[in-house]
């Protein structure tokens, strides 16, 4: 269908039957590809590598979905969205879901008619300053110039933080991370603020990372997670439970290396139900019984995805922190597979 789009359009009849609100999963199966909305380029979460392929934490969750539905983790089309058009792209059917470092907030969930189905990264807004300034706390930033990426919740949190603490500041709004980084490095602003996850990545990429510190204050809650269209519960379930499967896999010790072995059956009924050797959870979702096996085999469990893309051994160098499993003092927790 796709290939005829352009010629069709020549007569103004070039309309592709896009996703209708009711049955996204059916549309995806017909189309043979998932349309996944990602960022234009946030190192570690979603960015093009030197060959032009998408790589990153969010991208891997999309790949897991591709593997779960089609047994092909490449059956995903990545659509780069700006913070401006992401919700429109979702509601109009241009993308099937957003894995686009999108903060789950009340108004987005309720007013914008999107449905958030989980949290794949617990984030919070932090500040980074040059060591040279001698600042040790965000409360000492009175009068500072702050680089912010516009169109995100950080802008509002920043205004709130400074207002609550009775301080003034000079905002320097910037279009994207690359620009912000360049301006910060040139000293056009004293402080760079964004989600703590991105902050670590930016710091790692600076010319002299040791000359900058990230201040201890985290001024907001930024739960980032996938969002789907409001009113399509079947599709929301698929996205939710594929993500949960990746977390549950880490909880139960299933990895990409041993998943094939474990899928044959184990003594642990939870693993068996999740991997499809017991019960029919996959069929309830409208997928094959081994959907979780494929997803885990393709991208690994939550921990593996984390370590590969943004973990401590990557240039981003993030600690698990809040994103450790609940058993290890974090917040990542999967509802039971039963």
């Amino acid at each position: 269908m796709k290939k005829t789009v352009f010629f069709g359009a020549l007569v103004g009849a070039g309309l592709v039957a896009g996703a209708s609100a009711a049955a996204t999963l059916d549309d995806i199966k017909d189309r043979g590809k998932i349309h996944c909305g990602v960022t234009e380029g946030t190192l570690g979460f979603s960015a093009r590598d030197s060959e032009g392929n998408h790589q990153g934490f969010d991208v891997d969750f999309c790949r897991a979905l591709g593997a779960a539905i089609f047994n092909d983790s490449d059956a995903v089309e990545y659509i780069e969205l700006s913070s401006k058009n992401r919700f429109t792209a979702l509601s109009s059917g241009q993308v099937d879901l957003l894995y686009r470092t999108t903060t789950w907030t009340f108004s987005r969930d309720v007013d914008l008619k999107t449905t958030f189905v989980g949290i794949n990264y617990y984030d919070g807004q932090g500040f980074m300053v040059p060591k040279e300034l001698g600042v040790t706390s965000a409360k000492e930033l009175e009068g500072a110039t702050v680089c912010i990426e516009t169109g995100t919740t950080t802008e509002l949190n920043l205004a709130d933080f400074f207002r609550v603490n009775g301080m003034s500041y000079e905002p320097l709004p910037v279009g994207g991370t690359t620009e912000a980084k360049a301006l910060f490095e040139e000293g056009a602003c004293d402080v760079y603020t964004t989600d703590a996850s991105a902050l670590a990545g930016v710091r790692a990429a600076l010319k002299d990372p040791a000359a900058y510190i990230i201040l201890p204050e985290i001024v907001s809650k930024e739960p980032l997670g996938p969002a789907v269209r409001h009113g399509d519960d079947e599709w929301a379930d698929v996205v939710r439970w594929v993500q949960n499967a990746l977390v549950a896999a880490e909880e139960t010790g299933v990895t990409s290396a041993n998943v094939a072995e474990l899928a044959k059956g184990t003594d642990n009924p939870e693993i068996n139900r999740m991997l499809g050797s017991e019960g029919s959870l996959g069929a309830m979702l409208g997928l094959d019984a081994d959907f979780a096996v494929r997803a885990i085999a393709a991208v690994g469990n939550y921990g593996e995805i984390f370590e590969r893309n943004i973990g401590e051994n990557t240039p981003i160098g993030l600690a698990r922190g809040l994103n450790a499993l609940w058993t290890e003092g974090g917040l990542q927790y999967s509802p039971p597979f039963r």
Partner: protein
């Protein structure tokens, strides 16, 4: 023969709508209008249905909600507790500010460049050609980025001004600070200020009003004085000297008022992370202003050049036959005539510059697009309302400018005899 020419009372047939030229134009217009209206109805209907399905019916009351974001460059008072509507107003004023500044400098660059372009100095005229060809053949957005990066990379940081032997110093007797965050200029201050009048939307300084009033009165008095001198000249043939009296009439009351108000200059000073005090022109504003002026300047150079070249050479020759010096020939004979050709092009360039100022969003200057079409849109999620309002405002600005252009064109049109 003659009775054949008398048309018989034809019965109206449906096919006449197409084949009879009396009706055809009406038919075509009716069809076109129906089609266009149907199309518009279809689109509007789709939009309303789609938005209703999303639970966002078209309403503009979000403009009254708290904006919750800050703006660094502002002409009127604004804080994050103000409404989105006020943020939009701040953005609109910022758009008008950069457009105005850009138009002024682009004109200066263009006129000087256009005259130099025709200079008989080979090097200078080649350089002007080079300037025009380089700047107009590369996208404006790229120039704006280049200006922004040049500024942030080359100008010193505020902290470079600190310490015993600072790396950077303020210019012009410590009154101007050029940093990579912007330029801080001295500001006029009044120690015995008269305060402000709040007219609802913004504050107006009474000091400024008073100065303008005194200045206006002074000019009025000076004109009256000149008129009196003219009258005396026609009556007696002797013209009394007016220059001194006129200058005194204009300058002295203003100076007196300034002294009464306690006028002094407030210099920017380094305090904490940044310079405080003075008038701050932020780096994005300067980058956008420079980019727009240099880019649009090239078009004005060409307009000026073609305007000057279009003036009949005989005019220059006549002027030099009358013994007028080349400089004065240009300013008294050639330019006034060239203006008729230049002005319409100039105004369409002003129009372009104003529209191009929307590129502000790329470097974070908080103009109309960055506020209404940027942060406000993102925070409220009201795409339809924000973008339509944005387009409506730009359309209004454009129509006002082109209305002004038409009015001017009518006025200066050569009355042909």
């Amino acid at each position: 023969m003659s009775d054949a020419a008398i048309p018989q009372a034809e019965r109206f047939k449906l096919s006449m709508l197409i084949y009879d030229s009396r009706y055809r134009s009406a038919t075509i217009q009716a069809v076109v209008l129906t089609l266009v209206l149907a199309f518009v109805f279809w689109i509007v209907n789709n939009a309303v249905t789609n938005l209703a399905a999303l639970g966002k019916p078209i309403r503009f009351d979000f403009l009254g909600d708290t904006a919750s974001y800050d703006i660094n460059q502002k002409l009127i008072e604004y804080s994050s507790t103000d409404s989105h509507g006020r943020a939009v107003l701040v953005g609109l004023l910022n758009t008008l500010l950069v457009a105005f500044m850009g138009c002024v400098t682009a004109t200066v660059i263009g006129v000087i460049g256009g005259v130099l372009r025709l200079s008989n100095n080979w090097l200078v005229s080649r350089l002007m050609v080079l300037y025009v060809e380089i700047f107009r053949n590369v996208p404006l957005l790229l120039w704006i980025f280049v200006c922004m990066f040049t500024l942030t990379a080359l100008a010193p940081q505020p902290r470079a001004f600190r310490g015993e032997n600072p790396e950077a110093t303020m210019k012009l007797w410590d009154s101007i600070a050029i940093t990579n965050r912007g330029i801080y200029l001295p500001e006029p201050l009044f120690s015995r200020s008269l305060g402000n009048i709040d007219i609802g939307i913004f504050l107006i300084s009474v000091d400024l009003l008073a100065i303008l009033a005194v200045l206006g009165a002074g000019i009025f008095a000076a004109r009256w004085n000149s008129k009196r001198a003219n009258a005396i000249q026609t009556a007696t043939g002797d013209r009394p000297k007016t220059l001194g009296v006129n200058t005194a009439l204009i300058v002295v009351p203003v100076l007196a008022l300034l002294v009464i108000l306690g006028f002094h200059i407030g210099k920017p000073a380094l305090a904490g992370f940044n310079f405080r005090g003075g008038i701050n022109m932020s780096a994005p504003l300067i980058a956008l202003w420079l980019g727009l002026s240099l880019y649009t300047g090239t078009y004005i150079v060409e307009a000026v050049r073609s305007g000057i070249q279009a003036v009949n050479k005989g005019q220059t020759e006549a002027a030099s036959a009358l013994g007028i010096r080349p400089g004065r020939t240009m300013s008294l004979v050639v330019l006034p005539q060239a203006m008729r050709i230049i002005i319409p092009q100039l105004i369409s360039q002003y129009l372009n510059l104003t529209k191009n100022s929307s590129l502000a969003i790329a470097i974070g200057y908080m103009d109309l697009v960055s506020t209404l079409g940027g942060v406000t849109l993102n925070q409220t999620g009201r795409e339809m309302e924000c973008i339509l309002l944005l387009m409506a405002i730009y359309l209004t600005i454009s129509l006002l400018i082109s209305g002004g252009m038409n009015w001017y064109n009518e006025r200066v049109k050569l009355v042909e005899r």
